[in-house]
């Protein structure tokens, strides 16, 4: 019977690495967090903390969905355009097409999911890299947004609709609840459900997954659909928060979203990572921006410092690899 050398110490090692794997970016995050707190005390104020999470939630909700797609080894650049398009549709239903609360929530979500489905469908069936498909969709739905709105923002939402982005549940902003809810559900799905495990399997080795009898295409399409749906949710939150369907909404979101996921430790090659990392990644980006604003750092320097912090945070996280392969 093959016996492993030093079985015991091996396992202790294993456990440590698993732990570090999980906390790596958390540690980097805490360093940044404490640093800002030390520099500007108001940073630690509960109101500010909630403020940051609320700011982050719009990107964060999308990042949850993006985690699924990136775990599969995919990518989606169209999320920002989906935000804008669903936002305009929601605003349209609120202001122009009858004002139904139900329709102005449900239709944008369905449209978001539908665009996501298209992204997944075209890239899997056409065997195209999702980068290029979603780049095309990004352009298409930015144009469609302008077309639907005829080039002008649509504003004036009902108070009920405004609750989505601006409401409070006790002391907690509603978007924060939505965001954290998404994170928790996604965490459970990824860890405990067949769907979640297959996402990892496909991202880890698509061919093996296929040969093992997994319906790879179906799961891929599902992940894109989910991402589209969550982008639609983000579009609702944003439109409600701004009290206006904006044409330039969501521009550049794709980079912030992907950055959150990647900073959170999910591999762009797929198969590794998770949604809790994404939560930390999104918070890190939000905290840096908030902290620099509170410090009143000059715009030019903000950009420079942001870039440096992002790189250093992931470097700190990736130190674990050093340990592992050493």
């Amino acid at each position: 019977m093959p016996v492993l050398v030093e079985e015991k110490s091996t396992q202790v090692f294993q456990k440590f690495f698993v732990f570090w794997d999980r906390v790596g970016i958390l540690l980097a995050f805490l360093v940044v967090f404490v640093m800002f707190g030390a520099l500007t005390p108001v940073f630690f104020h509960p109101l500010n903390i909630l403020n940051v999470i609320r700011q982050v939630s719009i990107i964060g909700v999308i990042a949850v969905g993006m985690t699924f797609v990136i775990l599969l080894g995919g990518i989606d650049l169209s999320v920002g355009s989906i935000v804008a398009f669903t936002g305009i549709i929601a605003a349209g239903f609120q202001v122009k097409w009858g004002g139904s609360l139900f329709l102005s929530i449900v239709v944008p979500l369905l449209i978001g999911g539908g665009i996501g489905f298209l992204n997944g469908f075209i890239s899997t069936k056409g065997k195209l890299h999702p980068f290029i498909v979603t780049l095309g969709m990004m352009s298409i739905f930015r144009g469609a947004t302008l077309l639907v709105a005829q080039g002008k923002p649509i504003s004036g939402m009902s108070p009920a609709f405004r609750f989505i982005g601006a409401g409070m549940v006790g002391p907690i902003p509603f978007p924060v609840i939505l965001f954290l809810g998404c994170v928790i559900i996604a965490g459970i799905v990824l860890k405990r459900t067949v769907f979640g495990r297959y996402i990892y399997a496909i991202g880890g080795n698509e061919e093996a997954a296929l040969l093992s009898g997994i319906m790879v295409e179906r799961y891929k399409i599902s992940a894109f659909t989910l991402l589209g749906f969550l982008s639609g949710l983000s579009g609702l939150i944003l439109t409600s928060r701004l009290n206006s369907g904006e044409l330039v909404a969501g521009q550049g979101y794709e980079l912030d979203v992907i950055a959150s996921v990647v900073i959170g430790g999910t591999s762009l090659m797929g198969g590794e990572g998770g949604v809790y990392g994404t939560l930390i990644g999104a918070l890190l980006i939000g905290v840096v921006s908030n902290g620099l604003n509170l410090l009143g750092v000059q715009p030019y320097w903000q950009m420079i410092v942001k870039g440096v912090i992002v790189i250093f945070a992931v470097l700190l996280d990736r130190l674990k690899r050093r340990f592992r392969t050493a």
């Binding site: 019977m1 050398v5 091996t10 459900t193 080795n205 997954a209 040969l211 009898g213 319906m215 198969g271």
Partner: protein, 504 residues
């Protein structure tokens, strides 16, 4: 054994761009038998089973499963119909656990979508017990050695409780002990009425467990016989189309001066105080059980994995090897164990892969001299009998054995002094093996030396001048050519005679 064919192939044909992989193959597999499928590398064995399981679509012909014509469009469908396969290449997800990999594609479900971890782990552990191996089912597959991965593949195929189980070279990466275990399991399955299709290049195995054998050559069906009715010589002749006289053509040399000495090499948790030396013109065999650290030893010498302690001397001088390039500059070459992961760039052509280690040698000021490169590569293809439509075929489209030949050819093309071979003849057919042994002899004549890790005991016994036996990351014994027998090696490798412990 009943007489109804469970699988029948009628004029089955498969054409790839540029290759006719199967050419009107007709034969049947009986229910409940162990049916061997043999043939040279590239004969079409893997293609045949991949068509059965729906990975590829046939070009022409028919497949009858239990009398009905079938045409599975995906492995998913084949599995649903009770046909499972262990493919020639690993199909495991490195980042997932052993248990998850085993039940991939049919996770145990409790409440609708949720995975039942407890049941899954328990069943996985049961399978491990059934297979009589010690693998922690919660371990990530990434951290397993090749042999253990193969065991996981077997467990995965068994988990489907299929009626037809196809095994494409399941033993290519296993050592003696695991093979014996696998055979016991095959016998159990057979007694339960499972039909097994068994592909292997180790012909002894056919005689041990198979009932009937089908020979393919160049995509054509040559014969289907009762195993009892054919001798191994006949079988080889049918496969190769000619006589193979000597299966292990070892020419003995007088070993020269020492070229490589390893002293106290340690890599914590993996390798423990390993010392040995290698002399010019000899083959040093390394035997051992799964996970005994043989692969790790070669990688450490080659500078892939950092070492914690120990020294390496090359021709008497201490060498500091920190990267493969350092090793190559010291005249060392490594043939890695997992060809698809470490050996080949699958997307690139045969030419590019063969050229990889020698590009700087055939270029002037950074520009490659195409003619020289092609000549060398063409030479290799001919010598190694690599079956490919052209030098420009992508390696990913070659058969497994031919891929292995490309890995070998890569290093034969570059003159090195010390060759580290890790399972060099894995998945290579009988005829081609002999060719490779000849090539090894030629390397020795040229003044090179070889360290050969192999799990195929007959090969180690026949080809080595000396044999090191490893266990649990240590060298537990050294056997001279005369001392070496199968029993002696196994005794050391399994650790029943502690007095052999640690040389050096």
């Amino acid at each position: 054994m009943s007489d109804a064919p469970i699988l029948h192939f009628e004029k089955l044909t498969k054409r790839f761009p540029g290759v006719l992989a199967l050419d009107g193959v007709t034969f049947s597999i009986q229910k409940g038998e162990v049916h061997a499928l043999v043939g040279e590398n590239g004969a079409g064995k893997s293609t045949l089973i991949k068509i059965v399981t729906g990975v590829y679509q046939k070009t022409a012909g028919e497949i009858f499963f239990e009398g009905k014509p079938v045409n599975f469009s995906s492995p998913h469908e084949a599995l649903k119909n009770g046909i499972a396969a262990i493919y020639q290449e690993f199909n495991l997800i490195p980042a997932l656990t052993v248990a998850e990999n085993i039940f991939m594609g049919h996770h145990f479900v409790t409440r609708r979508f949720f995975v039942d971890w407890n049941r899954m782990r328990k069943e996985a552990q049961e399978l491990m017990r059934f297979l009589d191996v010690d693998i922690d089912v919660d371990q990530k597959v990434r951290d397993l050695g090749v042999a253990k991965k193969q065991v996981v593949e077997i467990a995965k195929a068994l988990s489907h409780r299929a009626r037809v189980l196809i095994m494409d070279e399941p033993t290519a990466t296993l050592a003696q002990k695991e093979i014996e275990r696998l055979f016991r399991i095959i016998k159990v399955l057979k007694s339960e009425g499972v039909t097994i299709v068994y592909i292997s290049h180790r012909l002894e195995e056919i005689y041990e467990i198979c009932d009937r054998v089908t020979v393919l050559r160049d995509g054509r069906h040559i014969a289907t016989r009762d195993v009892r009715d054919v001798t191994m010589e006949d079988l080889i002749r049918m496969m190769v189309g000619r006589e193979v006289v000597e299966r292990f053509p070892r020419v003995s040399h007088t070993a020269g001066e020492e070229v490589l000495r390893v002293e106290g090499l340690t890599r914590r948790g993996v390798l423990e105080n390993i010392s040995f030396s290698l002399r010019k013109g000899e083959i040093l065999g390394i035997a051992g059980m799964v996970g005994s650290g043989r692969t790790e030893l070669l990688r450490a010498i080659y500078g892939v994995d950092p070492i914690d302690e120990g020294k390496i001397y090359i021709r008497g001088k201490e060498a500091r090897i920190r990267s493969p390039l350092d090793a190559i500059n010291h005249g060392i070459a490594l043939l890695p164990e997992e060809r698809k992961v470490h050996g080949l760039v699958l997307l690139l052509s045969v030419l590019d892969n063969l050229g990889l280690p020698i590009l700087p040698l055939v270029s002037v000021r950074g520009f490659i001299q195409d003619g020289r490169l092609k000549a060398i590569a063409q030479d290799m293809v001919q010598h190694m009998n690599i079956k490919t439509p052209s030098l420009f075929q992508r390696v990913m489209y070659l058969s497994g054995g031919n891929q292995q030949k490309v890995v070998l050819g890569k290093w034969f093309a570059r003159n090195c002094d010390i060759y580290l071979f890790d399972e060099p003849t894995r998945g290579i057919d009988v005829g081609a093996k002999v060719e490779i042994y000849h090539l090894m002899n030629r390397l020795l004549e040229r003044g090179a030396s070889i360290v050969m890790v192999s799990s195929e005991l007959p090969e180690v016994l026949a080809m080595s001048d000396r044999i090191l036996v490893m266990r649990e990351g240590r060298v537990v014994g050294e056997l001279s050519r005369e001392e070496a027998t199968k029993e002696a090696i196994l005794r050391l490798a399994l650790g029943r005679r502690e007095e052999y412990a640690s040389v050096g």
